[in-house]
Symmetry: C2
Subunit: 92 residues, 2 copies
């Protein structure tokens, strides 16, 4: 799986609202009701990540969850990152 | 609840191995078997955090979980941080 070109990233981003692409990473911060709700959300993200065998870095700061996607083996963004991002967005 | 003095932090740290105190934060990174095990660990930490009504920032990077404790309302480290750190260490 190759990293996406700049043009491909732009095209994918148009289909992936609420996510930011920068420096080979795709990120989104989701605000939940409280810590407990944030942790439930992280578990749902974890299920999707395991299913895809593709794991974002996850930062929990009380009710805020930041997800950072990148395909480390390829050194940048691939279609796997955008596919998982869109699945996560179905939850958020 | 007041922030701890430097001397108190040193005393508490001696009772809280594997944690680092720096810049008003108490941190530890735990390495688990894989992402799934890391997420189980985070859920156990979440239970302890809810019980204590004191929530660390949590960073999950595949099998590595970094916990960052601070008492934001007091602007530094209090005995609550060390108490929760020791409870977490019972898990790790």
């Amino acid at each position: 799986m190759a990293t996406l070109t700049q043009e491909q990233v732009v095209t994918e981003l148009a289909r992936t609202p609420d996510w930011l692409a920068d420096d080979g990473q795709l990120t989104r911060t989701v605000t939940r009701k409280d810590f407990r709700d944030a942790l439930l959300f992280v578990n749902a993200v974890g299920f999707l990540a395991e299913r895809a065998n593709h794991h974002p870095d996850i930062v929990i700061a009380w009710n805020k969850v930041t997800l950072i996607l990148s395909t480390h083996s390829e050194g940048g963004l691939t279609s796997k990152d955008f596919a998982l991002a869109r699945q996560v967005s179905e939850l958020a």
